[in-house]
């Protein structure tokens, strides 16, 4: 179902979009230093936390053939999302007074690499990938369904295709955020944006002093006792999806979700800034044409 679009050269104002690349949250320059080409990177050194830091990059309007599209990179996870429609339904099960969403997540063949990909000779590689794609598609639908005004397009379907270009563990959080940006870019009416964040809890030291890692990489996740993923509708501060992988003690769950919430808010601010900057540019272009 998902479509691989032909790449298209996109005009981009250099050094003008502040939100093209920005660093949020507790940040570590070591592994994900923004290169010179990706200008406009913002370093926001916050918190006392010395843990690994998050590099976030957002962009919209990256796919030519789609109604709306977005690209989001969080650490080593990169996702490209495109939206098409609303268009006529294909399945009779989608028929109703409300619109339907057709969410398809695909993992690029090269999305997992190194040890994370597992033994390449294994016959189960394809099966594992399909299972993960299905899991991610379901999670995407759950996370964003409440954010879209489905009552505005009855008996129609909005097709959301996400392509995971590289998966470094953050895919469950990056995909809904990216899809939300793509929908906002397409102009389909929404209740709210969706921002997702992941926090890993590592209790491995056994000292009883837990450490929290925001947007953990796959390697870090392996060391974590649990990873929490939260999808948030920031305007109403409503959680649309919450998953915990692994085990977390009840007393830590509250603190973990608080950190997830903060991560969502930080990402949302960046998404909003990007959309505003992009829209202001579009309005300026519009005025320029009129004159």
């Amino acid at each position: 179902m998902a479509t691989l679009y032909r790449p298209r050269v996109v005009r981009r104002a250099r050094d003008e979009t502040p939100s093209r690349g920005a660093r949020i949250g507790p940040t570590d320059a070591r592994s994900h230093k923004p290169s010179g080409a990706r200008s406009g990177g913002i370093d926001t050194e916050t918190e006392e936390n010395e843990g690994p830091k998050t590099f976030v990059e957002v962009d919209t309007g990256v796919v030519g053939g789609a109604a709306g599209s977005a690209y989001v990179k969080v650490n080593g996870t990169r996702v490209l999302c495109s939206v098409r429609g609303p268009r006529a339904i294909k399945k009779s099960s989608d028929f109703g007074d409300e619109g339907a969403l057709d969410c398809t997540v695909r993992l690029a063949p090269f999305a997992l690499y190194g040890e994370a990909a597992g033994p390449t000779s294994s016959r189960n590689v394809e099966t594992r990938r399909i299972k993960r794609e299905q899991m991610l598609s379901g999670a995407l639908l759950r996370a964003i369904k409440g954010s879209i005004r489905l009552d505005r397009f009855p008996k129609s379907v909005l097709e959301i295709d996400a392509l995971v270009l590289s998966d470094d563990g953050a895919a469950p959080a990056v995909i809904p955020s990216c899809a939300s940006l793509a929908i906002a870019d397409s102009g389909v009416e929404m209740r709210d944006l969706v921002a997702c964040a992941q926090v890993g809890v590592s209790d491995a030291a056994g000292k009883g002093v837990p450490s929290f890692i925001s947007s953990p990489t796959l390697a870090q996740q392996a060391a974590c006792s649990s990873v929490m993923t939260m999808a948030l509708l920031p305007a109403s501060e409503t959680i649309s999806d919450l998953t915990i992988k692994g085990t977390v003690s009840h007393s830590l769950a509250g603190e973990t979700s608080k950190r997830c919430f903060e991560g969502c808010i930080t990402l949302h601010r960046q998404m909003r800034e990007h959309l505003v900057a992009k829209a202001e540019q579009a309005f300026a272009d519009l005025e320029g044409e009129e004159q």
Binding site: F153, A184, P234, H268, A279
Partner: protein
Amino acid sequence: MSATVARVGDVVVPGSLLCVAAQTEVAKAEAGAGAYVDGRGAVLASVVGKLVVSEPKGEPARKIFSVQTASRKPKVVPVVGSTVTCNVTKVTPRFALLDIVCVGVESVPGSGFRGMVRKENVRSFEIDRVEMHNSFRPGDVVRAKVVSLGTARSYELSTADKDLGVIAAMGEANEPLIPISFEEMKCPVTGVIEKRKVAKQDSFATLDK
């Protein structure tokens, strides 16, 4: 989310707060295009764009909050009551099938919306004497109204109004036909008169035939 209220002219994103309380004693705020009222009575933005506040004339207490988008065309789908422009694809003795190409003034290319005009929905009078082949032909361009969402396959359309019906058609000689009455169109080359359910024109070109 910061609870700051957007000001007029600000660029807002979906979820941005436009007005805290929609219904107060002094003012009535309403959501216009690109905005909605949430469960708490606040007006929020639903698309990316600039906030515009308008006041209907004579009612200074009413305020309509809407969001104007930059360039993209609004996303439209057919809903009950919309006027649609269609291409006729198939005509049977009981119904005609159409492809919807425009909803209102917005084109919906590639959306695949399909419609169906049943025999009883062609016109509002003498509906039992309608003959589909004398109303539409494949290839005709028809203006119709959506009467219901119909089935999963197609929307239920109606042309039972004098403003609705065929607005452009090609004749047997592959020439665009000229409407001459509510029921007839004429080929300007061969002079052959073909029957259609014609939409009301500003003036029928050659009413005197």
